[in-house]
């Protein structure tokens, strides 16, 4: 159950799409299975007390997580009878997020998370390249990528405790002032987004996770370092499966007025000891740059510091400078764990837009 909730948040905030204060129980015959990203769905014909049949869409997780837990598209078949318990969608759609799926003919519970503990990896020093710099990617001949972040929200690093869920929805809206030094308009927008449970989040519609957001998303990211041509590619495993180019050839940071504004901006990096410092400007205003709905403008300038403190740990620190949105620059961050011996799996957000966005 926990896995299902976590998997769904891969692209959408469950709290925006589903009503956790209500429950729904459905029994019926499976008519279709969409084993695609960002959320796997099956469709089930449910007969009500009057004999009328209605087709429900049931979201039951993300294929990557489901497959990691041993589930396959063949775990369920068209024509199977199932009983589903879950959270109904907000609004009139006949849609639910499954918290339990039971196959009638066997009584087996389907799509249950394995909850396998994360394997402990022996501590090692960070790998280094021939030039002595820390490698942010895997050493030669090895596989691996950066996976689960220690936090999925960005707040100013003041030490304050701010209860919120993993989507960034505050437990107490009065805590908004502790999140970041908002200008009045930005605080009002942030609170509006919070009160409406992030329903307008462009990320929910597969828009790119620009800003810091690709470091908060599931399915990780990978550095591909190419010092010989003065750049580092950052391959993004989640969201729209995009990439960033961080130029490390000494060029100055771009000037916003001369840039085509984009979701990921234009990045220039330099080494400060064992830390890669990346300045990025040139963001457009078509996305939310972090979970939770913090606003930004085209003036956004991010200074990111990537420090591989040991083989398995990446410390990520970001300073947000957007004088049109915040009263001063501010800093937050988290750590990210190395996923050894694996590659980023194929994930594209858009595949079942038909099921999730148009229905």
């Amino acid at each position: 159950m926990l896995l299902i909730s976590a998997a769904v948040s891969a692209q959408r905030a469950p709290s925006a799409a589903y009503d956790s204060d209500r429950k729904v129980k459905l029994s019926g015959v499976v008519t279709r299975i969409d084993w695609v990203n960002p959320g796997a769905f099956f469709f089930v014909n449910v007969r009500d007390s009057t004999g009328t049949i209605a087709n429900w869409a049931v979201e039951f997780g993300n294929p990557l997580d489901l497959e990691k837990d041993g589930w396959k598209p063949s775990s369920l078949h068209i024509g199977d009878t199932v009983t589903v318990e879950g959270l109904p969608a907000r609004g009139p759609a006949r849609q639910a997020l499954a918290t339990s799926v039971v196959l009638a003919r066997t009584g087996a519970k389907l799509f249950v998370a394995s909850n396998k503990p994360i394997a402990k990896v022996a501590s090692q020093p960070a790998p280094r390249g021939p030039d002595g710099h820390v490698r942010l990617g895997p050493p030669p001949g090895k596989k691996g990528y950066w996976g689960t972040p220690s936090a999925t929200v960005l707040v100013e690093n003041t030490g304050a405790t701010i209860p919120m869920n993993r989507d960034g929805i505050l437990a107490n809206i009065e805590d908004a002032d502790k999140v970041a030094p908002f200008q009045p308009w930005a605080k009002a927008v942030y609170e509006y987004r919070q009160r409406t449970l992030l329903k307008d989040d462009p990320y929910n519609r597969c828009m790119p996770p620009g800003g810091v957001r690709h470091f908060q998303s599931p399915y990780g990211f990978q550095f591909v370092e190419q010092p010989e041509i003065g750049r580092t590619l950052l391959l993004i495993g989640g969201g729209d499966r995009n990439w960033r180019t961080i130029y490390t050839d000494g060029r100055p940071m771009g000037q916003k007025d001369n840039l085509v504004l984009t979701y990921y901006g234009t990045s220039a990096g330099r080494w400060d000891g064992d830390t890669l410092v990346v300045d990025t400007v040139g963001f457009n205003e078509k996305f939310w740059f972090t979970n939770g709905g913090l606003p930004h403008t085209e003036a956004l300038h991010l200074t990111e510091r990537f420090t591989r403190s040991d083989f398995n740990t990446l410390r990520y620190q970001v300073t947000v400078d957007d004088p049109r949105t915040y009263t001063r620059s501010w800093t937050g961050g988290w750590t990210i764990r190395w996923v050894p011996d694996e590659e980023i799996q194929e994930y594209f957000c858009e595949e079942n837009a038909e099921s999730t966005f148009v229905r």
Binding site: Q183, P184, W185, K187, A188, V189, Y192, R193, T196, K199, D200, P202, R205, C206, M207, E285, K286, F287, W288, P295, H296, T297, E298, A299, P323, R324, T325, A353, E354, F357, V358
Partner: protein
Amino acid sequence: MLRQVFQLGCLLACLLAYMGVAVSGFAQQGHPLTGTWNGDWGTAPEHRTQLTIVMTWDGKEVKSVINPGPDSAAGSVSVDVVDWTVRIAADLKDPSGKPVHVVADGKLEDLGSYHRTISGTWRQGGATGDFKLTRE
């Protein structure tokens, strides 16, 4: 023939569905007033004057250009973010070329929507009417 109509219908439905996603995707998510707003004002439904207002937020104030082009005018904009009421004031020219002062008091609606709107009362010289602007 029926098949062609059906195919056309499917094509149109797909196009609309695609546009529904795409339009949401291109929404401007920064300061809610930033952007180009189109609409009209008038003293009656049959007496309408088209309006285009371009607003930008520089971090301290919202600036506006009313009807960009040869007859454009700069307007001052104030906004109360508590209830998102907006006042736009400017000196325009009437059809005869005479200067005329304009004050528009409206309310921003559908804050999270790409096609958010501002509507309210438009006072131009001695005339009072209503206006509605939609962010394009």
